[in-house]
């Protein structure tokens, strides 16, 4: 589903990712752990397409699975434009259905099923959660040539997802993340993920700032929304606690801009017990 090959990226001329390789298949959950400054968030932002994060080498190929198959080439101009961008690898012959992620704008990546859960979700005064999410979901559906959801259909979906994550319905009406506690913002990220129902989620320290109950709700939310044969997750975290709930298939240690060790959940437990310095050395 995602193939990262020898990825190099820099911010303000400073190289942060130095030849990162990673392959994530559909149905898998991968956890990325690592010390501060290792490049974990940079990886998330590069995959999401945040301006200012410059890729200087390597490639990121994405296979959006079901969505790509659903895009009828002539459904809408947007869908057509996306479909055009989905075949950059044609010249290479065998990459059918694979997309060069780095060629796409952030909103196009989202329309293909990529979701970036933010470490620090942004506050947007003046736009309600409901308005924001309906706009987001319908923008994506439009880009994929799918029918738009009516206000009623959307509200039903939003309420179900808020319930599933223990978020007060009233918070859906409030401006996006404004006045939310750290934990509420993270829950809101999960509610958004539930509504958008992406194929591939990159969750950047979704567990930081959560109390034990919220951690459980978020962990179970990830399982409920993203644990499926045709979906995958890249979970960036500092702590092993969330991994006990989500149970990743693979755990990687990111240090110095590349992945230095990979293993199963036992690697996370070892990191928790011994620290990065010991394990990543």
């Amino acid at each position: 589903m995602l193939k990262i090959d020898n990825l190099h990226a820099e911010i303000d001329g400073k190289e942060i990712l130095k030849g990162l390789n990673l392959e994530v298949n559909a149905g898998e959950v991968h956890a990325i752990m690592g010390p501060n400054g290792a490049g974990k968030s940079t990886l998330g932002y590069v995959l999401g397409g945040r301006p200012g994060y410059e890729v200087t080498g390597g490639s990121v190929m994405f296979h959006p699975a079901r969505h790509a198959g659903l895009v009828p080439a002539s459904a809408s101009p947007q869908a057509e434009a996306l479909a055009d961008k989905q075949t950059p690898a044609q010249g290479r012959g065998d990459d059918h259905g694979w997309v060069d992620l780095l060629e796409l704008e952030p909103h196009e990546r989202a329309a293909l099923g990529l979701f970036l859960g933010f470490q620090y979700p942004v506050e947007i005064p003046g736009i309600s959660n409901v308005q924001f999410l309906r706009e987001a979901l319908n923008s994506q559906r439009k880009a994929r040539g799918e029918a738009l959801l009516s206000g009623g259909e959307f509200l039903k979906l939003a309420r179900a997802q808020a319930d599933g994550l223990g978020m007060d319905q009233e918070m859906l009406k409030r401006p996006v993340n404004v006045g939310f506690s750290g934990g509420e913002k993270k829950r809101n990220e999960m509610v958004q993920m539930g509504i958008i129902a992406p194929r591939f989620a990159i969750l950047d320290e979704t567990d930081s700032g959560l109390d034990i109950d919220a951690l459980k709700a978020v962990g179970e939310g990830i399982n409920r929304i993203m644990r499926a044969p045709d979906k995958a997750v890249l979970l960036i975290t500092h702590y092993e606690r969330l991994l006990e709930i989500v149970a990743p298939d693979f755990v990687h240690v990111l240090a110095g801009g590349r992945i230095v060790r990979s293993g199963g959940i036992e690697l996370a437990r070892q990191l928790e017990a011994e620290g990065y310095a010991q394990v990543a050395a």
Partner: protein
Amino acid sequence: MVELLELPSRREEAWRWSRLDALPELARARHGQAGNAAQHFIGLGGPRLVFVDGVLDEDASELGRVSIGALELATDHPLGRQATGAGWALTLDRDQATDGIEIVHVASGGANHLPARITLAEDAVASVVETYVGEGWANRLTQIELARSARLMRSVRMLQGSGFVSIRDEATVGEGASLVSVFLGAGGMDCRIDDAITCNGAAAYAELGGALLTDGNQRQECAVSLRHDAVNGQSRQIWRAVAKDVSTASLAARVEVARGAQKTDGEQSLRGLLLDRTATINLKPELEIFADDVKCAHGATVGELDARALFYLASRGIAPARARGLLTRAFVADAIDRIGDEATRDAFSVDADAWLEKTL
């Protein structure tokens, strides 16, 4: 009157950001053919007035409790004092209320001047929506007097395609009375909103604000002052300016708290959003406080659209142009959302959206 047109100089502090150069020529120019006014009524079910170049169009108007006649309004305001002669007046007696009054000012070029007076007796309630369309210079002087516990909601939208709209309001707000004025500049004209409000009764409430949206070479400004003369008064000023291209939007807002006006609670928020770095936004918040037991919060900021918010929206699938529109709309929302009546608020939102649609 044309010969008497004496305009303030930009050397005067209160007019430093003004551009009045076009006014003398507009004052000499003739009126043209007026456009249709009917489409600008929101449909509030109350009196409807159409003024074409400052003159009542009787056929298109239903006066209700509004009267037309000569008004002698004393003012020393350099533009306001040009508005003499026949004007409109709303006088409500104790406990009277009227359905929403709608006034459409159609200008056809040249200049037009119109005085108005709103007098609400104890516990009277009124709302007035004014819309400026067309071209030319529309100049207004409105004097407002609210007696004890009277309430006035005033919403003014300036949608002229070109020219200049100058508005001078002078208001007194009595004990426990409430005045809320919201302005929207979403047309192609220049404008100046010049309000002087005095809360002279105890526990009076005044709110003054709005959004000025400029592009091209436009210049819009508000220069308003709100004075608390009595105890326990409350006031809010929420102004937003959005400027694109080489336009200029200026917000100068002052709060004065007199020596005896203890327990005044004033809030002032002036914010500007530059859509291009070639545009200009001037902000001038002023507090002048002579009482010692008051609360006056104020904030003034100018910035660009938040890059983090733009990326956040994009990461959820919202295309850049749409994201810019949503964030700009959100930026002006808190000023427009002060309008109490839903239909009026919606109409103003539609005008703001139309401006954004056209401009972004």
